[in-house]
Symmetry: C3
Subunit: 329 residues, 3 copies
Amino acid sequence: MATTTWTRRHVISLADFVPSEYDTVLQTAASFREVLSRRVKKVPTLQGQVVANLFFEPSTRTRNSFELAAKRLSADTLSFAQATSSLTKGETILDTAITYLAMGTNIMVIRHKEAGVPQAIANEMDRLQSQVSVLNAGDGQHEHPSQALLDLFTISSALDPDRPRLELLKDKKIAIVGDILHSRVARSNIWSLMGSGAEVHLAGPPTLLPLLFADYGKHRPGKLFLHWDLEPALQDADFVMTLRLQKERMSQHLLPSLREYHQLFGITRDRIQLCKPDVKVLHPGPVNRGVEISSDLMDDPQFSLISQQVTSGVAVRMALLYLIGGGKA
Amino acid sequence: MATTTWTRRHVISLADFVPSEYDTVLQTAASFREVLSRRVKKVPTLQGQVVANLFFEPSTRTRNSFELAAKRLSADTLSFAQATSSLTKGETILDTAITYLAMGTNIMVIRHKEAGVPQAIANEMDRLQSQVSVLNAGDGQHEHPSQALLDLFTISSALDPDRPRLELLKDKKIAIVGDILHSRVARSNIWSLMGSGAEVHLAGPPTLLPLLFADYGKHRPGKLFLHWDLEPALQDADFVMTLRLQKERMSQHLLPSLREYHQLFGITRDRIQLCKPDVKVLHPGPVNRGVEISSDLMDDPQFSLISQQVTSGVAVRMALLYLIGGGKA
Amino acid sequence: MATTTWTRRHVISLADFVPSEYDTVLQTAASFREVLSRRVKKVPTLQGQVVANLFFEPSTRTRNSFELAAKRLSADTLSFAQATSSLTKGETILDTAITYLAMGTNIMVIRHKEAGVPQAIANEMDRLQSQVSVLNAGDGQHEHPSQALLDLFTISSALDPDRPRLELLKDKKIAIVGDILHSRVARSNIWSLMGSGAEVHLAGPPTLLPLLFADYGKHRPGKLFLHWDLEPALQDADFVMTLRLQKERMSQHLLPSLREYHQLFGITRDRIQLCKPDVKVLHPGPVNRGVEISSDLMDDPQFSLISQQVTSGVAVRMALLYLIGGGKA
């Protein structure tokens, strides 16, 4: 395993991540990818420690990914099912977190539909002088750092499988397409990609890409561009990240129809001709086939990195759990 | 453990099982039954491998049985709760399966209310040249192979506890009673019992036992009989398998009432006098007491094999997971 | 671990617990508290054994506490989710328990909204001559013994951290405040506290504290007092146990409003001046902040033992699982 100087107790946001931190995550994840290729895919790193997956908002995919990462580090896992929880009995979220602390939890992985909940819990854990680490697994429209880090690992591994690192993305053109406004995945990715020195092109309909996103570009090595049309974003792109479209956007009058969305912003085999020949397409999943991306393109291993993203997810989450929890007494 | 020449990657249906395969399952399950009688009931066979229990249709009983089997082989388990899954977000079932593949799943145990889903997922896993194995844990009205194999293990163990094997069933009279039409348990059992050379007697009301079932008997060593009355099926029977009656059959006008069903097809202490003196009764559970079988008979260990079926379930599922997953890199 | 002469197979009620049993639980829990302070918080005591958490009534907190206790003893755990269970298919509770027995369960931890269910299952397990142990994790308004034992461990540890034991509570004044009538926590605590020789003062509005509770005090070393006002219960108290108030009590016309309840029976910084200067406050959780107890008092480590109760819960449940399951073949 890499020798590092990791000092962060919580991972809530990528807004203040520095390059050496990104590289530590990438390097550690690469080591765990090697573990995952062995016959016995477990290491004893977190044996006897407790990882609590507190998913106040349901998610099978991310929860399973964190759960598998924790199990492969030999941690014990606790999970929390919103429907049957004491929250329905009126307890506050902080009290729930304090209960898990008192049970002996070492790491809390938290998803909540409100932005700021993981930060509030991390603050409370620090105020109580606990040693507990908090990992944000998605909070409202704020951030989803483990998703952006697995995207970074997937992209940098596509550029150099043996030694994924941040500098590989410098000056690469990366398009992020879709419902930017409501996407915590987009926000976290903007931080990491801008931090790498990439050229980031956001594309979406005006209702889903307000101008305020231009501010995200300041004081970072990367360059940020906004487009209300798809074509300029795709032109010579090295990577295209598509975002999941929530179908409720239509009832909110932000979108006319899925069909029109696909006509304007769907990634298809035709449109992808605008990109670099070896362009790769990403999507955080689950995909609405034929909406964000055409079905055939999604399944084409020449272009699609979607399965690699899922695989990267386990390695990156092992890395995060290891880095924030591995050295504890 | 038995030295075998098992070559099957998936277990979807028993329609094409050959006698040596049945015997391999029985012999392997017998070995695991021995493991389960020890103080420490675990073996390291599947350590570091991932078994995903994908139950798109809810089932506590079968899911717990597979989960316990996987844990006793030291596998890591992932589980999927329909209610909170991303399927509610519009992802296709194949995409869900591909996500579990990409996470590193080695064996997928799949239950779905539609017939054919496990086969479709197995086909997709093969098309992608993955090494993943698929186990059908019940698909619609198609098949439930692990249930039929645990029934076979239970029956053959009743005939020879030390060496359960297929040939023990030859020429035994086995009645299957109830809602044959809608039962995947019945369909899988017909394949295994006809394969053993048993005499299989199906009995049920005409609405629940259509004539097309006569075709199931062709090209097998066993003999198949259909009865719209219970008595000829019970006459000199060695084993009576009762099927669970879904109460919604009545609202579908296929049954007049539970009471009338019990009067005509319920297994009672009186009726069982028609069978061989040492007849044994099976039921896949959960039982509607006083409907498919009278309550006192169900609890009488002289006749009932129902608890043994549950116990056999863990050993047989360990055997299946071992056979399809044990030798993998 | 302590050498003990524990002979109890099930823990259903504290009504017939004797002092040496309380002390064995306290002493064993103290040993496990030491295990929980180590880097690797696991012991192999229950390796290969199966603990089934059968929560017919939902509870994240108690279920997670038992699950963590079982995992730290290296048991395999099975869990039961009411919503997706075969109970919805009409199976009886005893049949469900027999199914878990047949799967190979060694210890059943049972919560049910009806009083008496854990006892009924324990009787059935004994009738079947199984070796299975049953732990009552809360049944209706009957008992919640593991909660009372963790309260006892918390209180006696507050009095002597190194050697918690029953005799420490002798002649201590302990107030139990709130909805006594509906509380299984109160009932179990009355048994243990009266058994210790403490002076137990119950306080609550007349609708929630009927006179029949006076009978609980007979034939025990402790003294029992009932109060329909808070003040005499708090006067010189050493410990104050507050009970959770179910909000549905108001719609049942047993309470005028949460606000009035708090005015009359809420524990506040002012009121606690009546108690001994080093008084400690307990609550089984989850707390309705500002109802049973004022928010600031709940968070004040000088007075509140609420987090210690949760921590004690894991150690006490490890002790119970160890004592009833540890020595089995």
